[in-house]
Subunit: 256 residues, 2 copies
């Protein structure tokens, strides 16, 4: 792991790092309490489509988890996002890029990156757990909505170290090509908090409900709120924190 | 208001009272912080079918709201429940009574009591707001699931003093005779927390979702959990408390 920069602000140390990934270096961030030493729970943060590892909602959640619970938080750029945007597309606005590629090609490119980012996350977790400020035995959580759920479902299915997750703004339909994704959802058994926006213009209500229903977890809670895709109410951010606190514990008292 | 008994335990004073109701006295309970004097938010607690004003989940929630937030809490026996069970049916087990009456007659009797309990609640609130430990200007909440929602929806539609409510384990169907109930739901605009059990053997999943969708509130959150009708997970009790705290404030800092 190469540390590019380290900055501390209001009790939170943010390290811009390059993780060894499935295909070369993966640009990432590790947030820690300033002066952290011993092991602590860690939460992996998966950003949404067109976003990146330091997108405002991820940054706010990371700082909240570090400051309130003493956690470590980690984010990486997904393939084709953030610093992993192909060189020839740099500087192009994400919406413009999506319009140029077309929604179908855009989606195909994202979905085809699923295996790669699962592998990136597994290696990232290996690296992070080798840090003395995190440790190999502590609880691990995952948070990711929208594209963060599109990738989070196969990650959770493949990665037993993650023992609690917040997902949402994603769905699954009856079409045969969705079967591997549905099977992955069914295989997940860890506690889940799943958020849906009732007027989501991207994710059909029934597909969202179908994904919640598919999860194999005995403890799974769905939080539904009115409003569009980008519009999860502020108070749910507190719910995310409490969910992780309940299942992963805190730095002082990690869940066993 | 006739105070029948007053008992204090672990900081909570519980008064067994008779409220003046729509048709004679209504047996009720007022919970207050021990030694309470000035005004404070009050939450009305509506029990479920076959239950009563001091059923364990109501008692636990009342004590929690009093101890954690400094609230007043109030419960009354619904018609045909608790001390309002008809004299000739006293001593008969609720389940046996339901079996003897038949589910249809049981339901008819409950639904026909809707106007009466709405009037009982309005008069109860008049009485409670005349207490110096509650006051006429403080925020008012309502909590009631299952039958507590069957009656809570018309209450909220008719009672503008209630400014936030927890409802759940209830639904509405497309049948024409459900239209008044649906219209009442549509007319509600206060913030709501609505809980559903995904494997509810009493309330059909689609009917529950239809009721959530029908509410006119712009701020409404639905919490779905797996499990049967009687099986709301323990952690939702904390959610109830936080919901009221967010919308009604606390005794020290009531919502304006």
């Amino acid at each position: 792991m190469d540390v590019v920069t380290t900055v501390s602000e209001q009790g939170v140390t943010e390290q811009r790092v390059d993780f060894p990934g499935a295909r070369g270096a993966v640009p990432g961030i590790v947030w820690l309490p300033e002066g952290a030493s011993g092991p602590r729970p860690v939460v992996l943060l998966g950003h949404g489509g067109t976003q990146h590892k330091r997108t405002p909602n991820l940054l706010a959640l990371a700082r909240r988890l570090v400051r309130h619970l003493g956690y470590a938080a980690v984010a990486i750029d997904a393939p084709h996002h953030g610093e992993r945007v192909p060189a020839e597309e740099r500087g192009e606005d994400a919406a413009a890029r999506r319009a140029r590629l077309g929604v179908e090609e855009w989606r195909r490119r994202i979905f085809s990156a699923s295996d790669q980012i699962v592998e990136d996350w597994k290696r990232t977790l290996d690296t992070v757990q080798a840090m003395r400020e995190v440790g190999a035995d502590g609880p691990v959580g995952y948070w990711g909505v929208s594209m963060g759920t599109r990738f989070g479902v196969p990650l959770l299915a493949a990665e037993p170290r993650v023992t609690a997750a917040v997902l949402g703004l994603g769905g699954v339909g009856p079409e045969p090509e969705a079967e591997p994704f549905r099977a992955a959802a069914r295989s997940i058994t860890v506690p889940l908090l799943f958020v849906l926006q009732w007027d989501d213009e991207v994710v059909d209500r029934e597909r969202g409900i179908a994904l919640y229903t598919a999860f194999g977890s005995t403890e799974k809670t769905m939080h539904v709120n009115p409003g569009p895709h980008v519009g999860i109410p502020q108070h749910e951010r507190e719910e995310f924190e409490r969910f992780f606190s309940r299942h992963l514990g805190t730095a002082a008292a990690p869940a066993v």
